[in-house]
Assembly symmetry: C2
Homo-oligomer: 318 residues x 2
């Protein structure tokens, strides 16, 4: 027994998430915030923690980041050994204003601060990484993380955005060759492939490296492509979208967190993972910043999943 336990502990695997941990100042038609905690790794880490209990983040902040903010990660069981705290420097800061339709926004301020020369240090204790989420960052940094893991993770999910297609095309193309799943939105899928039809875009992108492509369509849901299979996930129609910030990161975190929990990567599990990711994202947008996803109960998540099932199920005898 002792031997077996040692065996299992030794082989306990983790989910590692790299991305920004930052301050955001957000303005939407519903109001505005002061500097609040945001960043891709924050949203994704919190979301993943609802499904998987061994989440580890890699990121960097300045000494303006408060102890209580770090405690939030710890409260969710998130390992922060890979979160560098740079004394005498400031955290990454982004300020933005959403338009009335919430589908577009203006960036008001971007202060890279500690992010300017971020070197993603992977603690030795993170080498048990089985699931890796590369949150939106420079493709170069995303690639570095893959290279610093001694054993290739079972599943690598890459999130990126149009900005890197504009300024770091070659790095992005190189990084794509190293990953299993790519998550981008519909405009980005069109930009990356040069194809307007999402079916054609997906076919091209699946030749670039990823075996799975998730196209996020915001209020219209998401599409999953793998070989010749397609899954269309609905988005939950909401009376109010309060603040879309972090919804994509929350989706990605919920998605990989669920997959890490079930432990088997296949198309059917990915379909479910998309529903779980979508459910978490639907909570995210209901309040400013991380306010809603910081304190969800299991019952709330389960009830939301039931809403997704009711929303999209139909029975046709064939």
């Amino acid at each position: 027994m002792q031997y077996l336990r040692a065996f299992f502990i030794q082989y306990r695997m983790s989910l590692v998430i790299i991305g920004t941990v930052a301050f955001d100042a957000i303005e939407t038609p519903f109001g505005k915030t002061d500097k609040i905690v945001g960043g891709a790794a924050t949203y994704a880490g919190l979301a993943a923690s609802y499904f998987y209990n061994n989440v580890k983040i890699v990121s960097v902040v300045g000494d303006d980041f408060r102890r209580e903010d770090i405690d939030t990660f710890k409260d969710h069981g998130i390992n922060v050994e890979g979160l560098q705290i740079r004394q005498g420097e400031k955290s990454f800061f982004w300020a933005g204003r959403y338009h009335n339709d919430m589908n577009s926004r203006d960036t008001l301020v971007t202060e890279l601060n500690v992010l300017a020369d971020f070197d993603p240090i992977i603690p030795e204790s993170y080498q048990d990484c089985e699931y890796l989420l590369l949150g939106n960052l420079t493709p170069q940094i995303q690639q570095t993380v893959i290279k610093r893991l001694k054993k290739r993770p079972k599943l690598i999910v890459l999130d990126t955005m149009n900005f890197w297609m504009d300024v770091a095309w070659n790095d992005l193309i190189d990084t794509l060759k190293l990953v299993d799943v790519l998550t981008i939105n519909d405009a980005e899928a069109r930009q990356l492939s040069g194809e307007y039809s999402l079916v054609k875009a997906a076919a091209k992108i699946l030749q670039m490296g990823p075996k799975y492509l998730i196209i996020k369509k915001g209020e219209h849901g998401a599409l999953l492509f793998n070989e010749d299979k397609i899954f269309s996930a609905p988005a939950l129609p909401l009376a109010e979208v309060f603040d879309p910030t972090g919804a994509g990161d929350t989706f990605a975190g919920g998605f990989i967190g669920y997959l890490a929990k079930v432990g088997t990567v296949n198309f059917n599990n990915m379909k479910n993972a998309i529903i779980y990711g979508s459910a978490l994202a639907s909570f995210c947008v209901e309040k400013f910043g991380t306010e809603k996803i910081i304190a969800l109960s299991n019952d709330e998540v389960a009830a939301r999943i039931k809403q997704f099932i009711a929303l999209s199920s139909f029975t046709i005898e064939t």
Copy 2:
């Protein structure tokens, strides 16, 4: 037995569709057509005929409409007693050019011709109407059809568009009070309700008369609202959308045709009806005009329905 048969014949019910029967000239990035047969009643009638065998249309054409075009309706078992043929006059003609994204188009020509003073005459044999589809036309004409039916149909579906909101708002509002189901697209739902959120828009529209609202979102599928229930139907992702003309009418025809076939109007049957309507619409856009939906086999329709099931089904144990 004779008595029973007489009873059943007497109570055999029909699906009546009113809308345009017209000539279209269509230009898309894939090519252009000469004048081809189009019109809301044409697309809807053909679509409905795949599910229900007692479809009757009300419309008007000029003497430029060929006998073989009318035979197409008859070949699909569609009753054309209510199709007026005006000697010495010309059929309604529309010419349009689609933009590269296929989501927007320019109208190049609109010649109302026989439609200018269309009076929808309801043949006595149409008084058995149990299902009524009011295809896109002036709300005044749509209302006239309802008033000329001696017995209120079991289900009245209204299709309309932004144009009537612009030029015939009061008539449209009056007509809405008389119908059970409204089908419009997302921009039109926003215009009709003054609400950006489709959930809020639906809540307002369901106060205007219809018990059911279908919001068509093109490549993003459709939403069905009824009381506090919502169903989200996917659209089939297609490699090529060849010509979107008539897709909405085909959807509406397939939808009501399926409901007429099953004979019971409830939320679950409507969900299935939306899938059948979406399946027919997905065929429609694969070729120019009615070319594809004029000659579908039952096997093709069944296979497409299976694709919709595979596309949107997932299994989460709750």
